[in-house]
Each structure stands twice: as C-alpha cells, then as structure tokens.
C-alpha cells in the first residue's frame, strides 16, 4: 500500500509547514505561549505517526 505512504508523506510535510508558520509567528525570540506549545506537541506527534506509518508500509 504505497498510496498510504504517499499520503503520510504529504501529511508530515504539511504538519512541518505548520511548524514553519509557528517559527514565523514567534521569531526572533520564540517565546511560545501555551497554545503554541500545544500545537508544537501535536505537530511532532503527527509527524512521528506519519513516519511510523511510512516505515511500516515501505520497510516491513
């Protein structure tokens, strides 16, 4: 099911793009508020999950 791996590749890239936006919003001091901290955690979890799924699909 490479289709799933492709889908997760985009999901991870999009999540990292959201992280990129957080950098843009908080530069140059990067003082994250609680909502931003929550978002960062969520993004990291999402990317990890996507990478796990990609690994599972491609390198069994």
């Amino acid at each position: 099911m490479v289709e799933k791996a492709v889908e997760e590749t985009f999901a991870a890239l999009f999540a990292l793009t959201d992280l990129r936006q957080i950098f843009r919003d908080t530069k140059p001091t990067y003082q994250f508020n609680s909502e931003q901290k929550r978002q960062i955690k969520e993004i990291i979890e999402k990317v990890k999950k996507s990478l796990d799924l990609i690994e599972k699909e491609l390198i069994k």
Partner: protein
C-alpha cells in the same frame, strides 16, 4: 543555512528574522499557500482535469472557476482574471485601449511598469504632479487632462492611478480621480498593487473600470501573480477572444483570450493564491490593526533624535519611507563599516530587509508583524541609537 540544491541555500529568513523589506511583507505566503506549492509545484499541475472549453478560468477541479467568481465578488467587479503580476494587468489594458501617440495619464509616483506598458503600446505617459503633501488628487488629474487636451487636441485614452504608491506608501485620491475620469468619459485603471489583499477594496465603490492587484505584493502569493478585474462593459474588449485563423491549417483557438495569451497562471502560483484566499479575505478586515502597529512603530522611531518620516503622517499604510540622515548616517560617516554598520547592528538583533548599507533615506514595511515583533523592532532601533550616543527621547 544548509543548501537546498547545489549553490542555492535554503531561504529561512522569514523563519529566523523579522523582515522589514518594503516589498516583501504582504506577499509572504500563508501556510496553506506553502502546502499548495508542495503539492502543485509540477509544471502544468492545474491541467489534470482541464476539459472543454480548455481555458484556465473554466477549470472546475481544482475549483479554479469558482475561485474566479469569488475573487470578482471580493474585489467588487464583474469579471476577473489572474495574471503573472500586476504589470501584466496594466499591459493587457493598455494594449487593448491605447494606440500609437495616445496619451495616458499616470501619477508622478507611478510604478515603472505602467511606463513600460504605455511604451509597449507606443503611447505617451503624462504625469500628474504631486501636491504639497506628495499626493495625487482628482483636481490635479483634471488639470492634467485639460493640459493634454489643449496640447494634443485629444483627450487621454486612459487614466492610471496607484492607490498607494511604491515610493512613499502614500494614499492617493482614487475616488476623486475615478469621478474625474467619469466626468471626462475616460476609462480609469486603479492600481491597487499595494492595497488589494491587505485592506478592503471594492472596485465598484471606487468607480474603477479596471482594478489591478498584485499577488506577490499583497495577496500572500508567490511571484509572479496578480489580478486584473473589470466591468462587464469593458470585459469584451480587454478579455476579447482570438479571431485568428491559420492560413494553411485553418486552425483557430476560439476561447483563448488574446491579451492574456491564453492561459495565465498554470500551476502552483494560482493554487497558492487560491489557498491563501480565505486568510486574505479575513485579514483585510484587520487592516486597522496593521495601521496601529505601523503608527506605534513610527512614534517610537521618531523618539530617536534626527530621525524623520518622509511618508504622510499618520501612516495610512505599512510601507513607509524614513530618513535617518540626521541619526544613523552621522554614525556611518566615521564608522569603519560605513553604512553597513547599521545592517550589522540590525542583523545582530535578528532584523533584516532594510536596504543594506543605506543610512539616509530608505523604506520599510511592518505588515504582518505581531505586536511582539513590532515592539522588538522599535526597541532595536532605539537600542542601536543609544549604543552610538544618539539621544532617544
């Protein structure tokens, strides 16, 4: 910063620095637009489901056709096309209306691409001078029309006025000029490259026959991208379709629009514009917040002895021309790094985008900065001033 490909570094200045470059501020992408570029970066990516009648603005998947309809509503005009930059919008209109030797009224602060568009059509630009506040008014425009009429025996073929100019970011009398254009029955093009996409703009309310916007200047879109909107009255002329028939093959390309050379933004640029559109539609409602921030910044900036603002005050736009001849330039005169000392100091404080090495008259733009970033910026100017013994009130 790592190289993306050989000799091309990753551009991360928007993630690492406060960027006050005067022309880059409102063209910064939304995250949605960044995602769109990733997914639609391949050449003719918008053409996967292009079906009859085979024209970009008719494509329904992705919903490009709907976007055109919504965009026309957003700008308060009847019809709209996306174009590769505002300049291509000027070119399409001028090329449709102006013939050799015709006069075109432009502002004394007109963007250079308006000149080029007129020159391309072999027309002649006639500039409306600025008043004492560095603003173009309807009255001055009427005087210029009379002057042209007297000298050439003919009325100008078109009036183009920049809503906000590129040099000072001053607001020009777009409504008054539209009224004058109506009085003389001369078509009027409102150049809203610095306003459409950051503040509410309605072409119908302005009284414009043509409205031009810039995607990469003010619509959170990649370059080149732009908007050309018009009324039903003018659409048939500017968006006229080809009548040409091949003499050998008999081929014709019926629905393709001559001035646009057929399809325009065939890929990521258009999808990125579409992706940014919801946020753009929302952000124009918060223009007053942006004005609050730039006016806070200039207030703080003017506390530095010798600093001056050359743009109209209070600020009606975030693009602002400043003069630091009486402050930072005095330091530059004896500093071993000359004017570059100022850029060095800014960079140390994670700020870029000023004209590197310039310490006299230069431009900046605070659009899109958060309050924290705006305050950081103002503080940085004052800290640099204090470091070099310049008085801060």
């Amino acid at each position: 910063m790592k190289q993306m490909i050989e000799e091309v570094e990753v551009r991360a200045r928007e993630e690492l620095f406060i960027n006050i470059n005067p022309i880059q501020a409102a063209g910064r992408l939304t995250p949605e637009a960044m995602k769109a570029i990733m997914a639609y970066g391949d050449g003719y990516s918008t053409c996967d489901w292009c079906r009859k009648p085979f024209r970009l603005d008719k494509i329904q998947r992705p919903p490009i056709s709907d976007f055109h309809i919504e965009l026309a509503k957003f700008v308060g005009m009847d019809q709209v096309r996306v174009v590769p930059g505002a300049r291509r919008g000027f070119q399409a209109v001028v090329s449709s209306l102006v013939e050799k030797g015709d006069s075109v009224i432009v502002s004394a602060l007109a963007h250079y691409t308006e000149f080029l568009a007129v020159e391309g059509a072999e027309g002649i630009v006639k500039e409306v001078p600025l008043n004492e506040e560095n603003v173009v008014t309807g009255e001055e425009t009427a005087q210029k029309i009379e002057e042209v009429k007297k000298k050439t025996g003919k009325l100008p073929k078109l009036i183009i006025l920049d809503h906000f100019d590129y040099m000072l970011g001053n607001e020009h009398d777009i409504h008054g000029t539209a009224k004058v254009a109506k009085d003389y029955d001369i078509p009027f093009l409102a150049n809203c490259a610095y306003s459409l996409g950051v503040m509410p703009i309605n072409g119908r309310e302005i009284g414009a026959d043509f409205l031009v916007g810039s995607g990469h200047k003010s619509f959170a879109s990649p370059a080149p991208s732009g908007i050309l909107a018009t009324t039903d009255e003018w659409a048939d002329k500017v968006f006229r379709t080809t009548q040409m028939v091949g003499d050998v093959t008999g081929r014709k390309f019926g629905i393709k629009e001559v001035e646009l050379l057929g399809c325009t933004l065939m890929g990521a640029n258009l999808i990125a514009m579409m992706a940014s559109f919801p946020r753009v539609r929302e952000r124009v409602k918060h223009w007053n917040d942006e004005l609050e921030k730039i006016n806070y910044f200039v207030d703080e900036f003017l506390k530095i002895e010798g600093n001056n603002v050359l743009s109209e005050m209070p600020r009606k736009h975030t693009l602002t021309k400043v003069d630091t001849t009486g402050s930072f330039d005095k330091v530059a005169r004896t500093h071993k790094r000359r004017g570059f000392f100022f850029s060095d100091e800014m960079k140390k404080r994670w700020i870029v985008g000023e004209f590197v090495g310039a310490t006299r008259q230069w431009k900046l733009n605070t659009y899109g900065l958060t309050w924290d970033q705006t305050k950081h910026l103002a503080q940085a100017f004052q800290d640099i001033a204090k470091k070099y013994g310049i008085t801060v009130a």
